[in-house]
Amino acid sequence: MTAIAASRAPKATGTKGPGAAVAPRRVGLHVFLAAVSLLWLAPLLLAVYASLRPYQETAKYGYFSWPHHLSFAYYREAFTQSGMAQHFLNTLMIAVPAVLLTLFFASFVAFCIARVRIRGGFFILILFTAGNLLPPQVMVTPVYELFTRIPLPYWMSDSLTMYDSYWGVIAIHIAFQTGFCVFVMTNFMKALPEELREAAIVDGAGVWTQFWRITLPLCRPALAALATLEFAWIYNDFLWALVLMSSGDKMPVTSALNNLKGQYFQDYNLLAAGSVLVALPTVILFFILQRHFIAGLTLGATKG
């Protein structure tokens, strides 16, 4: 008891309420954290600020000056000029199926390793995790060559091959990202209580029911955390779309920013507006799922 009180002592002084004297160390902590947070947010805030001001103004007074005109004009321009609506749609066509399938497959693999305890499970885990650590550039050429040789019917891809189609990009994302998710999900499932599943087994539930109805609902925090991370990663991918697609109108939204780059003249304010627009979906998703985030990432048992 005394030990608990002693270890919690510094915490207590800070949370007594506004009336209590605040320990000086607490003030220092808050000053430090506030300063760092501001420093961390500054580039984003400055980008938002710049995007609201006309180029003539920032060119004349510099980016670090009081505003004369503020408007959302650049956002409208960035959105229409780069064809962003189409590119957003392209990204969703890639990211949504890729994230859902990755999470589904990874959960099942993790379930087999952590719960069913199939033979060789540990090596399957290593196979997936280590695969995720390989640099993607190593796979670029063979994947490209492979995809140009896999024919697809017209209704699936107007290029008639896996190359230059969403299918190829989705497939490589699933193959590559499953590794990380298997790793996190395995650790998470190992930490889940077994009682429910045991009861289900006694009632004669098969592997699928144990997985889909019993185990998966308990994994919601981990799935939320992984969904955020994976969506951000796949959404932000630059390399695979560049390598595996050739039609400009199929490109994801990250490459739409390139459409905003002028040939001779760079309007940075316009670029800033475009960057903010591109960043918005992942930021919004993060705030929606934030509550689950830390709770969902169980990265490994820490025994004493």
Binding site: M139, T141, A175, P193, P221, A272, I294
Partner: protein, 331 residues
Amino acid sequence: MRPKADLEPAVTAGAPAAAAPAAAPDQGRRRPRAARRRIRRLTTRDRLVITVLLGLPLLFTFVLVWATTLASIGLSFTNWDGIGSAKFIGIDNYKELFTNYPPFATAIWHNLLWLGFLALIATPLGLLFAVLLDRKIRFGRFYQSALYLPVVLSLAVIGFISQLIFARDDGILNTVLGTTGQGQHPVDWIGDPHINIWVVLVMAGWRHAGYVMVLYLAGLKGVDPSLKEAAAIDGANARQTFFRVVFPVMRPVNIIVGVITVIEALRAFDIVYAINGGTNGLELLSVLITDNIIGEASRIGFGSAIAVVLLLISVGCIVAYCMTELREEKS
């Protein structure tokens, strides 16, 4: 059968416990029961489900990740240009790479610099943030979000934001420093090949620290609080408790963070590609590979040789990771 390994989950039911505090007293009750149970009889239907749903992702990973990696190694011994037939030329690509390709040494140096910066500055910073934010403090959620936010941004976006801040003539940094006026010599943060790598490193570290923070926040949640209490009983102060008890106990997380740091440093690509295509002082291995393979020259054999060098460096880390996991599994 493996009582020790089976005990692990019970000790660190950190995640569910955090979601529902009521689960905590449950832990003690579960411990003695966890030791039993091994694989159960599976019905034919179960086997079918497992074969299909485990087989599909395995097939994906095998074909698209492992087989293609092996194919790349094969290609690195040829002079293939992507169109004609490939001719085996032994280790000529590697010879040229090490003797007659100046960007290679620069790129290796930049990747090492990247690794050093992330490992010595960004990662410890992320750990520090996690330790500071692991307690319940006011505005904790805000600080956490602010520090994490860069992680969800694409490096391409970060690249564009960097230009806004570091541009020579009207960038924010030079304006703040007051070096943009008449007769001044503003620093060309992005254009100067001796400086720009540091600018890029700062931006990459900005993002990496938030990522590491999240991983350690998750790791700290899993640390058994009774360990800290025990340390406090033994008279350890906060610093001793952290470095002698908490940090060593987080070994699995430390390994993951270490591996991620190395891999991020080796994989770095988007941010330099967005800034200037990875030229003029921003050469990286990943950029050289991409340039050779999908560039106009289309020197696929040669690009693959660079990829293999990158692979060898990564494999070192991967093997180190697997060894520790294996030891963990056996204990």
